[in-house]
Symmetry: C2
Subunit: 467 residues, 2 copies
């Protein structure tokens, strides 16, 4: 890919199409030059704000004609550099394509534009007694969540984005618009293009519409927290709950130090001990049934009393605290940036993996802060680094390499939900192996022969240009 | 693709590799010349019986070197001509690769070879208190079920093959072996190759190993049937059950004529009326809860009493009868072959779709026999045709075209679970549209540039050679 592209004439063409929805000022370029990761900013040459699919298609055609890179941008909440315009070009900000297009309450599906965010979608759906289940914590855009293959706190019960997208509309690298999937609940009709675009991080096309599975808000929702005498006890209790097939809606582990950070950040005063956060969904009888089964298990691991949150407000407070974990960690050391790790292993290996990782954190001099979607075998650590200190970065890299190898040896993956971006490309090569990487390259080549769609994400394409 | 391939030297090379596990006699070629569809037989030149992945890879290398087509074969239970060697060549029968390689009861996953069949797998898993949920009715091979993107009676609760395969090992068109996925419950690591091979019908590679999600056998399982005063009442009751989110494990509709055929075929004497078959899984309390909720709904639609089957034997008898539906239909008219339709629509449109389809069956002079996985919006009709009567075939084709269009207009798909094979390729073109078909062709070209893997399936590749 050559980067001697005539960006000036691209911007002229874009202005003719979108007028003042083409922005080249430093402030807006700066806002689109980073995500929540610790990678150095890379600015796009221009940011465009389309309001409909046809405009996205036109933007892509213009960029393709001039060989200029295109980076789709949702809410910028990714944590592996997914939206960094590593080779400049045009960032397509989809935040103005944020409408709910159709709600089919009878079929439990909904058609939305990619820029709508999780919280706004759920506010809209609540009017119909419905909710969208995938909850990555951040108030991400739905297009971004699909592109990342996101999941989160409710995945143990309701699955990932891959499990909850029925159909997509996607603008391809040549500006064509393709529709994949239907509103049918299942289909065996040809190659599964829908799943190919989910998790492709905008490197195969730009998602311009999604048809999502939604669910009826359960008759009863009850959240509870309980503390454990040790990290191992909490993790092992969670594993046991999942192995017994109890259909908990959420089952989140947070260690003592992370609880301290959250308390400090959110002004809370919860006990600073290893904690499991639960949520139970269903009929009152089902919720009571599940809670009782969970209670029996956690008792065996020495847990304290359940602290219940049954009102919507109390539950929201609880989960807001949980969701602030990432920022709580960053704020605990002013000036720092974060590397969030994200391995996922078979649950039978989880306790061992968490244990070895805690020991490694200590050995590397990082705070031992671990939290995770333990029901799925997925957990995070947040490494705080000084972005200007190369030693810090090197240490972070070595720690994450060791963690990745540990997860792969256990039959796991380098990323349960954060995706590859630019940060995990070596880890992906190690995990997938040369034959699978060759297939991924062949797919990329077939879908985007010029290599213009979100360059340098997922697959390594030569060295990254200097920032 | 040219078919002047030197098949004799391929067979020589295969014999050097596999000895007498290369078979060219008419009986065995005949067995591999058809599936359960009504398409005329097409014989392979040879059938090979590998026992390990390395042999499959070698077979593919030999065929690729000589430009000879390769057709993977599981149990031959497909219904759209998936395994027909339309251009001759070598059929790779995977039935001797039928071992369970690893059972991870703690992680609820299992690693198997592709030739193992559903019933044998579940017999094996029962020792561990586990089961594999996908049940297409036929005793299909797991490799075939994955390749077809199969689903079935339990999908309303537990999902399709796409939802229950964690990882694959696949032999590619060049003989390389690729592994996709891991044993982690979720991953965002790169393009989703696993889902791309599921439903690809052997056209992108040959599945040689699968890692499957399994589940604990529920504490209680109870099956029940009840009859309705009309087809519409039965279908609408099922829709209502699904819309209310009651987690039934099975919810199958069978109309009066189909019940008659099943009775006659299986020597049963159940009531010959529109019927719903249910199965409830869970704790005794959960099962009672679900059954009561279902009872309230079916009452509103004028259903008769529940006939309960709570013993394993009684349940097996019940579901065996349900699963014999396809053969019961064929046997009801000796000498006939069957075209099984398979549309799937959003449940809110299901009653309307079933109604219009019943009227159309009558207008076309086909028996009005309808059965389906109504909880998913998926239903079947079985068109009995005289395979030697071109008029019958034309009538069948026109009926199914009309049905496909009806399903697509309703936001549905031409195939919920049977796949494309050679029978639904035009329907796929209509459903997916030119842009998606172009992407599928690009994927096929990237994965199998010589076009040797299961030719003429999924995508149209010129006219079919004469039988």
């Amino acid at each position: 890919m050559t980067m001697t592209a005539p960006i000036a004439s691209v911007i002229d063409d874009l202005r003719a199409l979108l007028g003042d929805r083409v922005v080249t000022n430093d402030a807006v370029r700066g806002q689109h030059g980073h995500d929540e990761s610790s990678f150095p900013d890379r600015l796009p040459d221009a940011v465009v704000f389309p309001v409909e699919t046809a405009e996205v298609a036109q933007v892509v055609r213009i960029c393709a004609r001039h060989g200029v890179p295109i980076v789709p941008f949702g809410a910028g909440t990714s944590v592996e550099g997914h939206v960094l315009p590593t080779r400049g070009g045009v960032t397509v900000d989809l935040s103005r394509m944020d409408r709910v297009l159709e709600v089919h309450a009878d079929d439990l599906d909904v058609r939305v534009q990619p820029g709508i965010r999780r919280v706004a979608l759920n506010e809209h759906l609540a009017r119909y007694g419905l909710f969208f289940s995938v909850d990555p914590g951040a108030d991400a855009s739905l297009g971004g969540m699909a592109s990342t293959g996101a999941s989160g706190t409710t995945t143990v019960r309701y699955g990932t984005m891959r499990d909850n997208v029925l159909a997509l509309e996607v603008v391809l690298a040549n500006g064509e618009v393709v529709r994949t999937g239907t509103r049918a609940r299942k289909s065996s009709a040809g190659y599964d293009l829908t799943h190919l675009f989910i998790g492709a991080e905008g490197t195969l096309g730009i998602i311009t519409e999604l048809t999502l599975k939604v669910r009826g808000i359960p008759e009863q929702i009850a959240a509870a927290v309980c503390v454990f005498p040790s990290m191992a006890a909490g993790v092992e209790a969670a594993i046991s709950i999942v192995q017994q097939g109890i259909p908990v809606a959420r089952c989140e582990f947070i260690d003592a130090l992370t609880m301290t950070m959250i308390n400090r950040h959110a002004g809370l005063d919860g006990p600073e001990a290893p904690t499991l956060f639960f949520e139970f969904h269903g009929s009152p009888a089902a919720v009571a049934d599940q809670a009782e089964a969970v209670r029996a298990i956690v008792d065996a691991y020495g847990a304290g009393e359940f602290q219940w949150a049954t009102t919507t407000e109390a539950r929201n407070r609880l989960w807001r605290a949980r969701h602030q974990l990432y920022f709580a960690a960053i704020r605990s050391r002013p000036g720092s940036r974060a590397i969030a790790t994200d391995v996922c292993v078979p649950v039978s290996r989880l306790a061992e993996c968490v244990d070895a990782t805690a020991a490694d954190l200590e050995a590397f001099g990082f705070p031992v802060a671990i939290a995770g979607h333990v029901g799925d075998g997925n957990f995070h650590t947040v490494l705080l680094i000084d972005p200007d200190n190369p030693d810090d970065r090197a240490r972070g890299r070595e720690f994450t390499n060791r963690l990745t190898l540990r997860a792969l040896e256990m039959g796991g993956t380098c990323t349960g939900e954060h995706g590859i971006g630019i940060g995990k490309r070596e880890a992906l090569e190690r995990e997938a192996g040369p034959a699978a990487i060759a297939l991924m390259r062949a797919i990329k080549q077939a879908f985007d022969p010029q290599g213009l769609l979100n360059p340098d994400k997922v697959l390594i394409n030569g060295p990254l240009p200097e920032a």
